[in-house]
């Protein structure tokens, strides 16, 4: 029987001929990524020195640290954490990306998402690099130290669940709707400890941005990571951007999957994830008309150029509802610059949006903090109570199109009600 992409990637990374799901291997990550955060990276730096007596990294070019939280600093203590990180990277040779945007996006722009690469992080949203053919796996919080002090990390080779996509998304329906639909359709346990492999003819119809949005949220299916079976031209484009060139590692036609599921994108409509659970996925229609006061369009899940284009298309020449706060946060500086070149930033500002430079801080409520009793429509990653401020504020997760349409009305609104998407209703 053949092998899956995940099995092939981990076989190569562990120096074996083959690796089969269920086997435990020690695999050498091609890249080790982390964002700086108190209690995480600062602890790694300390543990390296105090527990392991190490002050150097094996092949430091494999390591990238992103300063994307607490940007800009708002207290001296926060700035001290940043400075310690700068110093540590300078000393060890790890590459530092500061104020370049959210690391999960910047790492793609910087070529760490090379097809076939095995990449580790302690954040589960690193799975989004699977949209470019790289296997991004999160290791539990402090266990990422293993990647800092020895060449390989212990990992059990995961099974794979294959999802074959067919059809074509309706106008006004986005990648975010696809992943949340999958969570509803398959259930929150469907991909436990497995890799979700996305394939099928509809992959070619989905943008890089849409695939990245889907791949970044697979943790809510219980998945360890995500890999996209890309068409040849997309795989070549991804490889051209990669920092390393690796052998073509597609799944074999007779690969062994835990499960295989088909999904017709044509049947999907807009979805919201209702508070307080990332599992409570509903048709938008159930909540249409509910008043909302806050909109967040950003995060590693949905602040890319496609999202900004859709929002600008809806908001062009219009004004957001009085009293509604719309925070638009491009995922990276590159995305923001592109949006500026296309005139999207001017459109959004003129409609009344607040534009922030790229940062993670809106996603977890450090800024743009919500008060008790408020309700948000958000493209952030999560809707648990307290995620964006008060534990008594409600967060509805949805697509950028739904955030923009709702911003115009001050109510949860189906983007397909707008003339731009009307043909799809």
């Amino acid at each position: 029987m053949g092998f899956t992409m995940a099995e092939k990637i981990l076989a190569r990374a562990s120096g074996r001929e083959t690796a089969r799901a269920g086997e435990e291997v020690q695999a050498r990550p091609d890249f080790v990524l982390a964002y700086e955060f108190p209690g995480y990276t600062d602890q790694f730096f300390k543990m390296m020195a105090e527990d392991f007596g190490r002050d150097t990294l094996d092949a430091p070019e494999r390591f990238a640290i992103f300063i994307d939280h607490m940007v800009p600093s708002s207290t001296p203590a926060e700035e001290q954490v940043h400075q310690a990180t700068r110093d540590w990277c300078a000393k060890t040779g790890a590459t530092l990306y500061e104020r370049r945007g959210i690391g999960h996006q910047v790492c793609v722009e910087e070529g760490y998402a090379a097809p076939g690469a095995f990449v580790v992080h302690y954040d589960g949203h690193v799975s989004q690099i699977g949209a470019y053919g790289a296997l991004g796996v999160n290791l539990p919080r402090r266990t990422l130290i293993e990647a800092f002090v020895r060449s390989g990390v212990d990992i059990k080779v995961p099974e794979t669940v294959r999802v074959d996509l067919t059809g074509h998304l309706q106008p006004g329906v986005m990648g975010r709707d696809v992943i949340h639909h999958l969570i509803r359709r398959l259930g929150v346990k469907a991909c436990r400890f497995a890799v979700l492999e996305l394939g099928g003819p509809a992959v070619a119809t989905l943008s890089d941005d849409a695939l990245q949005s889907i791949a970044g949220q697979v943790m809510f299916l219980g998945a360890l990571s995500c890999l996209v079976d890309l068409p040849d031209d997309r795989l070549a484009a991804s490889a051209a951007r990669g920092r390393i060139r690796l052998p073509d590692l597609r799944s074999d036609a007779d690969a062994v999957y835990r499960d295989r599921i088909a999904l017709d994108l044509s049947e999907l409509g807009p979805i919201v994830v209702a508070p307080p659970s990332p599992a409570d996925t509903r048709d938008l229609a159930e909540f249409e008309g509910r008043p909302v006061q806050v909109g967040y369009l950003g995060s590693c899940a949905s602040g890319r150029i496609e999202d900004l284009r859709v929002a600008a298309k809806l908001l062009d020449g219009r004004q957001i509802a009085p009293g509604f706060q719309l925070n638009v946060v491009p995922t990276s500086n590159a995305v923001m610059a592109q949006a500026a070149r296309e005139g999207l930033i001017a459109t959004l500002v003129e409609a009344g949006a607040f534009i922030s430079a790229a940062t993670c801080d809106f996603c977890y409520g450090r800024i743009g903090t919500m008060a008790p009793g408020q309700t948000a429509v958000s493209t952030g990653t999560l809707n648990v109570p307290g995620r964006m401020g008060s534990t008594e504020a409600d967060i509805f997760i949805c697509s950028a199109a739904t955030v923009a349409a709702s911003a115009l009305e001050g109510r949860i609104t189906d983007p397909r009600r707008h003339p731009e998407f009307a043909d799809a209703v």
Binding site: M47, D51, R142, V188, K189, R192, M219, S277, A279
Partner: protein, 176 residues
């Protein structure tokens, strides 16, 4: 690195069932309440654990007690403080029908036994005395004489449990 994980001594687990979480997909943040997950003080956290359900929970729990849970225990975006509170009270293991991966991997990396035992909800009630029989891979209920097989941890997971978590296991592997 120990070459044979079977030679490692796994922790003895025998204790009463302190609580049965019978709801699937249970979000462990609810143990202390989402609004309290930033509390760092362990005594304070332990005092409020499950207090909404049973004000005497902390007082009734004794070291060695275990928790029993439904399937996909730990779903959501689990934070560390709730189970830190449980360990502080002396909880020795969680025995569930199944676990959510992020939660499971995180707690096992701390050397906190998470034991997958399909059917355990039908095996045990609050107050029953359970034992983990590592040799026979059985959860034994000494209160009703019944037992059920659990899914044995992998060799790497046995190392984590035997050595007390990822950090000591890694130090042992590297000889530091």
């Amino acid at each position: 690195m120990p070459s044979d994980a079977q030679d490692l001594k796994l922790p003895a687990i025998r204790g009463r069932v302190a609580w049965v979480f019978d709801q699937p997909d249970y979000d462990v943040d609810q143990i202390v309440g989402v609004k309290n997950i930033k509390i760092q003080d362990l005594d304070q956290l332990a005092a409020i654990a499950m207090a909404d359900q049973d004000p005497d929970f902390a007082a009734r729990t004794v070291p060695g007690d275990v928790l029993v849970a439904a399937d996909n225990f730990g779903y959501g975006h689990p934070h560390a403080p709730p189970m830190r509170a449980m360990r502080h009270l002396g909880i020795a293991a969680v025995i569930a029908e199944g676990f959510a991966p992020t939660y499971y991997r995180g707690e096992m990396s701390l050397g906190f036994p998470q034991i997958a035992c399909p059917g355990v909800l039908g095996l045990a009630r609050r107050g029953d005395e359970l034992e983990i029989d590592w040799d026979r891979h059985l959860v034994v209920n000494h209160s009703n004489g019944r037992s059920l097989p659990f899914e044995p941890p992998s060799p790497a997971e046995c190392r984590l449990l035997a050595l007390g978590g990822h950090l000591p296991a890694l130090k042992a592997a590297l000889g530091v």
